[in-house]
Symmetry: C2
Subunit: 137 residues, 2 copies
Amino acid sequence: MGEQKLSIPKGYRKTKQREAILKVLERAEYPINAEQIFMELKNNGIDISLSTIYRNLEMLTKEGLVVKSYMMNEDKARFALPDKKNYLVCEKCGKIVIIDNCPFDKFKEELIEVHGFDITGHSIEVYGVCPECQKKG
Amino acid sequence: MGEQKLSIPKGYRKTKQREAILKVLERAEYPINAEQIFMELKNNGIDISLSTIYRNLEMLTKEGLVVKSYMMNEDKARFALPDKKNYLVCEKCGKIVIIDNCPFDKFKEELIEVHGFDITGHSIEVYGVCPECQKKG
DNA sequence: CTTCCTGCAAAGAGTTTGCATCAAA
DNA sequence: TTTGATGCAAACTCTTTGCAGGAAG
């Protein structure tokens, strides 16, 4: 599922920290924050500093390999591969579900026509209550 | 244009700071941050502290009168009335254009069906290049 | 009067940055 | 070697909080 092979952008050196961060992002099922990447690596015995993570996330975002986003009622940035940037969040349990085949493209034409923008990207966040939480009342 | 009359939620006192913040949000054409509200009020001769602004924005968000969001490459939260929460941002000049009649509703049914979520809200951010910047090349 | 609200200053949290050291190429 | 990358600690920015004084009801 979405296991595309990411590689370090041209012009940047190949370091074990960089590769490790990319692997975590590839394996992640939804946007995660710097701290989560840090803990994930720590649990896998990989020692890295938070600043290195932030510096690499900034680079990867600038290079377009990663998308940064913020979630409702959260003050920290999350990062994900572009195909995992649109999601549903359960307001009760916090579960995050990625929106595959985002139907946004259908609206794109309309937006271009109405506003004249040349659209390069988008990010959609949807909140609601997941099926399990609906049952729990 | 979107000049709905907002009032202080029941259970909260009517103070001049609160009313001033609401007025700024009503007049705003797109999501703005705490600092911008502060400056806007200062320019109108209204003295208020940033913490009061933050405290009220938190309250208004909790009460559902205001929606909090973050924009690409920005580290501070923005706040807007619900009808101004979906927007287009020009990557070059930063211009923000509100998406009226957000076509999201068409797509809501599909999401409910596929994921079983009971959807309560959404926020859409679109980036691109505005017509003026396209001309400038 | 009573309770809520505000302002101020200090504290917090997340993120960024300077600098010396380390490692990729 | 040369130059980019990392780690650490300090710095920064945005936001939150404690507390005393002030205003709303």
